[in-house]
Symmetry: C2
Subunit: 337 residues, 2 copies
């Protein structure tokens, strides 16, 4: 029997090759980015991927070095009227208020309870930290995960009425899939906090918890009835924004990305870091230009402020995606024409 | 043509199933852990993997939750006469000494130059930090990677004469492969520093840089001639040891492992964290019992000190691997009988 094996394997191998060729031919026929308008932006993405995956070309990148990083707020999902994590915080403050009667007369808690978003924003980073610590610390990591999941299951966006994690960008979901189909390893690198994202990124983006990089809190290992828990402490461990994004990429991922996508000046250094390496690179900035279907904002916005990115995209060779022009669909719950 | 496709696909599908079944049958016949002695330890590993991968069983764990964490020093490679990273440090001090004439009369540098390992160890953590900062900071991340690679290519272990990253444990390489073949995602969680491990863990262990968790230094993003670099600063960012290993696991991996392997009390909390979750879990302690082929040490050792682990392994249900009894081969460069 044994001497026939190689022939059998060769035959099966040949059939496999034919099968895979058929699959590949089939894939070429299907547009992997159907929600992207045919045009220069989409073509630039195709050209980049074709270039780094062509093993005969001078720009070939082996699959274990195909690292792609995506910002989250404003890049993979919306961030208006304000960052969804801030809306989570204000919802939490309201639901915890009964146990904290002093909040009625203490800022910035009072502003939250009175739905006074201007005062909340005016309280600045200091106020935000107070609100964040009151809602993100003092429980175990598992308890916090439950809180996030319950909020996502019930909270609805004030203007669309949708669940927050339905308001992700269909074109970016397709881009994530397209990169993965070409053996990229895809990471989130967000200013949002790790444990606000990880409960849902795998289901929504296909990005597992260990491929999510973000801001983080200090935690403490403790035994409770001989069972270990991690307690979340009211102390920021790492703020992942601007110049610290490359620092976090290096610490968590350990390789320089060859692709990075963002939408604000908070992503400037990440794109700079990714696109300054040797060989072919792609940096993408999502420009929010669609007041009808999403929001239109850039230089003056308190969320996703984009000034340096717009001014220096050309000289850095970055692709500025014009949402109104380049995206035929915004959210998955809207149908493709 | 099109109407024949389904039939063709069915036929190919059937052949594929036969082919895969043949492969699976072939694998069952081949021992995935050939360097492990047949016996209770090996069987316990097989039973655990069979249990969590059996989709009909009550202990089934879906593949995206099959997280395994391994300590490095003393678990995946040797750590005698002292931690290999400390030997890297002392080699670096010697090769940098010409530019630092004051080191001849300044401790602990003087002790290194005089090869006085006792004084180095006696200088304790404070002395070690001085030596570490002098050798691990002040360069870019890329420069440091080159330094590590050059050292590994040329340095040889004082007693075996082997390259340090040849002194990895063959049985553990097999265990890493076996877990991966069963769809585990495998991570290193080590007290060693990230950038001392990442240049070689993928080639040696098959573990990519982003699946290496370790101690880390502060780094700073800087532009040099408009090119970004990350500069390593003489400041520890995170010391990954004992109670902070679960903290790092949570921060980097974001899921609780169902499998953890270590060899010292520095791994105690990692094993406790991994094995205290719901469902079937496995914690392994490698016990260094082989003075002939490797080293024998536990309670009194300054490297890999193991006291609590030995005392509490039974009550925690941890498997203590007896290196002399359970491992037929230690290093890959030794042949299997």
């Amino acid at each position: 029997m044994k001497q026939y094996r190689p022939l059998i394997f060769k035959t099966i191998g040949l059939i496999l090759i034919l099968f895979l060729t058929a699959c590949a031919a089939n894939q070429t026929a299907t547009d992997p980015l159907p929600s992207w308008t045919d045009g220069a932006s989409k073509q630039q993405i195709f050209d980049f991927v074709a270039s780094v995956t062509n093993s005969d070309g001078s720009n070939f990148v082996p699959s274990n070095k195909r690292i792609a990083t995506f910002d989250n707020d404003g890049t993979l999902w919306s961030e208006k009227p304000t960052y969804f994590q801030l809306l989570f915080i204000t919802d939490r403050i309201r639901s915890m208020a009964a146990d904290h009667p002093d909040w009625k007369t203490t800022q910035p808690f009072q502003a939250v309870l009175e739905n006074d978003m201007e005062t909340i924003k005016a309280a600045g980073e200091h106020g935000l930290i107070k609100l964040t610590m009151a809602t993100h610390a003092g429980m175990t990591t598992e308890e916090f995960e439950t809180i996030v999941n319950e909020w996502l299951a019930t909270a609805r966006h004030p203007s669309t009425g949708q669940a927050y994690n339905s308001m992700v960008f269909q074109p970016m979901l397709e881009l994530l899939d397209y990169l993965r189909a070409n053996d990229f390893k895809v990471f989130i690198v967000s200013g949002g906090s790790l444990e606000f994202m990880r409960p849902w990124t795998e289901a929504v983006y296909g990005i597992p918890p260990d491929q999510v990089v973000g801001s983080s809190f200090e935690t403490r290992y403790e035994l409770r009835d001989d069972k270990p828990v991690l307690v979340r402490l009211p102390e920021l461990h790492f703020n992942n924004d601007k110049v610290t994004k490359p620092v976090a990429i290096n610490r968590f991922i350990g390789q320089r990305p060859i692709f990075a996508a963002g939408n604000s000046d908070g992503d400037f250094e990440m794109l700079k870091w990714a696109t300054s390496g040797e060989g072919e690179r792609l940096g993408i900035l999502v420009h929010h230009t669609d007041a009808d279907r999403e929001w239109a904002y850039d230089r003056e916005s308190s969320e996703g402020r984009l000034v340096r990115g717009l001014d220096q995209a050309d000289e850095n060779g970055w692709l500025v995606v014009d949402m109104a022009r380049d995206w035929q669909v915004i959210y998955p719950y809207q149908s493709v024409e």
